[in-house]
Symmetry: C2
Subunit: 230 residues, 2 copies
């Protein structure tokens, strides 16, 4: 039974801004667009909403179809609805950003996806309003990363505090005092030090750490909250 008798139905899409981290740089995963118009130009990964899925599910599906990645951190950040934003046909799109472990992602990414990582500091011109979307996604990521422990999604399971600092410096584009940064981390019981060192970058070796979601959940229930200002 239909009660709404409106003719106007725009297309609805989702677009994913996919962040990765490697060698101290925050990166973005872009693809060459494979349909007209603008075939071959740089674009975020997107797709149209289907009848059987929610927006969140659509974003996860697009991500999996195009990269093979599952169970990644995904957050909606904004809907974009300018009349002419898509030159071919009116399309309202909902922007999501994803945080992936770039090392792991690389394994999944088969070459025919035509996907490429580019540093966030050097994003090429993208189709439509995608550059604007990237900017909005980054802003949201910055905010989320200061207030919630989502940064870990960009790192491997095991990471050193120096890596973590480097990540935050990349996200915020600033440099951080190592002493102060580490002191704050030391108070977070949900950051568990492992009995293993990373000896790749120094003679002394750096302890590996691990984020333990269960401990964080408990700390949160007790009123503690995550805060890492740049």
């Amino acid at each position: 039974m239909k009660s709404y008798d409106y003719a106007y139905r725009p297309l609805v899409a989702v677009d994913c801004t996919i962040f990765g981290f490697r060698n101290g740089k925050l990166n973005l995963l872009l693809v060459r667009r494979d349909i007209e118009p603008r075939r071959g130009e740089w674009s975020l990964m997107g797709g149209f909403l289907q009848a059987h899925e929610s927006l969140d599910e659509a974003a996860a599906r697009v991500l999996e179809q195009r990269t093979g990645l599952q169970d990644v951190y995904l957050e909606q950040f904004k809907a974009f609805g300018a009349v002419d934003r898509d030159e071919a046909e009116r399309t309202v799109t909902v922007g999501y950003y994803a945080l992936v472990d770039q090392d792991e992602a690389e394994v999944q990414l088969s070459s025919d996806y035509a996907a490429h990582w580019v540093p966030i500091t050097d994003v090429p011109p993208l189709i439509f309003d995608h550059n604007e979307m990237v900017e909005a996604a980054l802003q949201r990521l910055r905010h989320r990363a200061t207030h919630e422990p989502v940064g870990f999604e960009l790192l491997p399971e095991k990471f050193t505090l120096t890596q973590l600092q480097s990540l935050y410096e990349a996200i915020f584009g600033t440099s951080i005092d190592a002493g102060n940064f580490r002191r704050r981390l030391r108070k977070m019981e949900y950051l568990q030090r492992l009995n293993e060192k990373d000896t790749n970058t120094s003679r002394k070796g750096a302890w590996y750490y691990q984020f333990v979601p269960e401990v964080y959940a408990m700390a949160k229930r007790n009123g503690a909250d995550f805060l890492l200002k740049p």
Copy 2:
């Protein structure tokens, strides 16, 4: 020239969570729904996106058509896209919240709009996922109000510091130390004291203040930023 050959086109709507402030209470403007299904039940103000307008424009139009209000603060906070959120037909809706001066709004609101203010602490069951939307809008308002000077949108042009404090207490549902609150405000040059007192609530009278956007814009360029934690 159409390049996309997809059949699935959901309806796209916008819904407005309208906040007002009166007598120390943060309120929400609700309407009785005037179409089936769920005719007569409490609902946010919404409407369908039209061909010629952006999402932002649609939200402003819906607000004006239903309340007569123009030039109000409107911010998009989230898109909602669960498959069955609207029982009649698949509809993706984009949530906006509005901040209005309730005194001014009351003048505009003609009675046949069937609109009613209810305190945010006592929101009745709403249709579909509208209660969830209200919760999300409130969260966003709380965040915005701590980091940007948007609270003033809920007050008349001239207001006292006591009113401002009461507003923040209502937004956050906490009580605030008057001394500390005022000390922080004293440092904000863009809060200008007028040569006029409000004598309605005390024998001594309280100075009226005014928010001066130009001065704030300049302060912001110089790196100052607004911060009012609850």
